[in-house]
């Protein structure tokens, strides 16, 4: 029982990292109808920035500053590589972001170098005991979960209560109608990329908390792809629910995989993809996604 609870809580911690990443993907998709494969690079860039900033200014200031800088980087990428492609097929833009990802990651890897880099988080691998249950929870997972909750609340409030949030929802619903009503769709695109970049930086920081930042960190961001397919490409709640669910299932698979040794070690790495395939056979547009309807 303790084992089960502990792995569920661990799953919520890793799942909240996925949720942040998936939110970035979904925000970009809703605004521009494109999946940005550049998210892994932004996540790595954010984490590396934190490792450089945490020393001089401390962890708590380093994270928001790194998020802002990564958002700036994402804005630049949007401006240079994505904006010229407005009106071209979504697949072509997606491949461009793949190119951006490859190029940006090489530069970022250059900054990692050969040293071991830490994000300087205050938790490390320390645990906190939940009273009365005997369940140990790592503080970093708790931190990730709390940070995600705060960010998601802020995001939903932003979309619900601000002018710009309204503009983003309008542009997501119908770009042309939004343009006709005076919404600057260009600004919406830019903001979507900026938000996604910032979220990826925070996600990268928490993915690397308690461990070191290395070139392989970006693979975590790819797990957000099955998450968004599971939740539905255009559903913000789907991204959050999908992220937490995938995190939990992954941790459960890691905990109980010794009961199925024929699956091989590290089976938890591919559980999200297997889960994605299974869900798609039943629901092609994910759990919360909008079914594509075309009138002929």
């Amino acid at each position: 029982m303790t084992e089960l609870l502990e792995s569920v809580l661990r799953g919520l911690g890793t799942g909240s990292v996925y949720a942040l990443l998936a939110l970035g993907f979904v925000i970009i998709y809703k605004a521009t109808r494109v999946i940005s494969f550049a998210q892994p690079a932004f996540m790595l860039a954010g984490a590396v920035l934190v490792t450089y900033l945490a020393g001089p200014v401390g962890f708590w200031l380093a994270v928001p500053v790194a998020a802002l800088l990564t958002a700036g980087l994402a804005l630049g990428v949007e401006r240079v590589a994505v904006r010229p492609m407005v009106g071209r097929p979504a697949f072509v833009v997606a491949i461009i972001t793949l190119g951006v990802d490859v190029a940006v990651r090489v530069v970022v890897n250059g900054f990692i170098g050969l040293d071991v880099r830490h994000v300087g988080d205050p938790w490390g691998l320390r645990t906190v005991a939940i009273p009365g249950t005997g369940v140990d929870l790592q503080q970093r997972h708790l931190g990730a979960l709390l940070a995600t909750t705060v960010l998601i609340a802020a995001l939903f409030a932003f979309f619900r209560f601000t002018r710009m949030g309204l503009a983003m929802r309008a542009a997501a619903y119908d770009q042309e109608a939004a343009l006709a009503q005076g919404v600057s769709v260009g600004a919406v695109f830019a903001l979507a990329w900026g938000l996604a970049g910032g979220l990826a930086a925070v996600a990268g920081t928490f993915a690397a908390a308690g461990a070191s930042v290395d070139a392989g960190l970006w693979l975590i961001a790819l797990t957000a792809l099955p998450v968004i397919i599971l939740g539905g490409l255009d559903s913000l709640p789907g991204a959050v629910v999908g992220g937490l669910a995938v995190g939990m299932i992954q941790e459960l698979a890691a905990t109980y995989q010794q009961h199925a040794p024929w699956l091989g070690g590290n089976v938890s790495v591919i559980t999200p993809y297997v889960l994605m395939l299974l869900v798609l056979l039943v629901r092609p547009y994910g759990l919360f996604g909008t079914r594509e309807v075309e009138r002929v």
């Binding site: 461009i96 793949l98 090489v106 397919i229 092609p284």
Partner: protein, 375 residues
């Protein structure tokens, strides 16, 4: 003008067809026939001009081109974005290696080394894997499909690195398929030429066969159905194209091409391991198709040569750009430049020349068609 004779062709009017046969010809203008012929003579003659080391690279180019033509069929012609090409390459490579492998070796092997057995088997098994994926492909479109096929690469990598009885395991690997034809080793120095010369000729021959087959498929009923699906699948369905059937065919043929390419790819180096079939390999194949020009056979071949020769070109670049290091542990080094170039070339081509290398060729051709007038 008579409706049949080839002799009625007018000089300077290459596009004026006076018979169905000339209208349907694969190389329908005299210029095409001459240039393809000249290119073929050059390609066959290259082994007499180039050192073995370069020929080996060109042999790999030819095999990569087979894979790229296959991906071009499903992505360029049928419009089904596949990021899972590495998975199908892997199935082909492992099938061939297992069939031709040493029965008493460390890894699974059946000991049937005849290329006429393992090459079709590799194509067939990879094609079957493509058919198995097709039910998902027929239900999904665009980016959903891209992500699902990307998932295949990860699942494949896990299976291949765990199933060490077949694959030798991560970091260890296994010998690739043996190139042999009824007891005659095809890739060995002999009276006909050196090992690399023979390898190159063999791969060139395979590329020709596969490319011609693809070109003929593309202009058949099936190929027209592919392009109809790519351009507007709903409209295609309305005019009677069986979407599920043709998407399945597209995936099956493309995967079979990938399987054959995968089987041959490592016979040049002789050895491979599960880490070869990563997402990067898929991205490279997508880059080949896009940089060469989506929806053309010759474009896919040109793209494959370009991408495969790129590492070699960046190595040469080191002589001109002195601050680049050839050591992987120094910054900046040629390996970084090479990886960045993949990314940047994809971006630059898609923004500035969406039709790829083939598009550049079309522009050059059109310039000379109208020369000396610019309009």
């Amino acid at each position: 003008m008579s409706a049949t004779g080839r002799r009625t062709r007018l000089r300077g009017r290459p596009l004026l067809h006076t018979s169905y046969a000339s209208d349907l010809a694969l190389f329908d203008t005299p210029a095409k026939r001459t240039s393809v012929g000249a290119l073929l003579v050059l390609a066959v003659g290259l082994p007499f001009l180039l050192p073995d080391e370069v020929l080996q690279l060109l042999a790999v180019c030819c095999v990569a081109a087979i894979g790229a033509v296959g991906l071009g069929l499903v992505t360029g012609y049928a419009g089904q974005v596949s990021l899972g090409h590495a998975f199908f390459l892997a199935i082909g490579a492992y099938t061939a290696a297992a069939i031709s492998g040493d029965p008493d070796g460390r890894v699974i092997g059946l000991g049937v080394t005849n290329i006429l057995v393992w090459l079709p088997a590799a194509g067939l098994l990879a094609g079957l894997a493509g058919v198995l994926v097709a039910p998902l492909a027929t239900r999904l479109r665009g980016l959903y499909l891209a992500i699902v096929t990307l998932g295949l690469v990860f699942i494949g990598q896990h299976v291949f690195s765990e199933w060490s009885a077949l694959t030798g395991g991560a970091g260890v690997g296994r010998p690739a398929a043996t190139l042999e034809f009824f007891g005659q080793p095809l890739a060995a120095t002999g009276a006909l030429g050196t090992r690399d010369q023979k390898l190159y000729w063999l791969m060139l021959l395979f590329l020709l066969v596969f490319a011609l087959a693809a070109a003929n498929l593309a202009r058949s009923k099936v190929g027209r159905a592919f392009t109809a699906i790519r351009d507007r699948d709903i409209a295609a369905g309305v005019i009677g194209v069986n979407l599920a059937r043709y998407k399945t065919i597209a995936f099956a043929v493309s995967s079979a091409y990938a399987g054959c390419a995968g089987a041959l790819l490592y016979t040049v180096t002789g050895f491979f391991d599960p880490s070869s079939f990563s997402l990067l390999l898929s991205v490279q194949y997508i880059a080949m198709v896009l940089i060469g020009g989506a929806g053309t056979i010759s474009g896919a071949i040109a793209g494959a040569f370009f991408i495969t020769l790129l590492p070699r070109l960046t190595r040469e670049m080191q002589a001109w750009v002195p601050f680049l290091s050839a050591q992987p542990n120094e910054v900046p080094n040629v390996f970084q430049v090479e990886t960045i170039l993949y990314g940047v070339l994809i971006i630059v081509f898609l923004i500035f020349e969406p039709r790829g290398l083939f598009g550049i060729w079309v522009r050059v051709r059109n310039y000379w068609k109208a020369w000396p007038f610019s309009y």
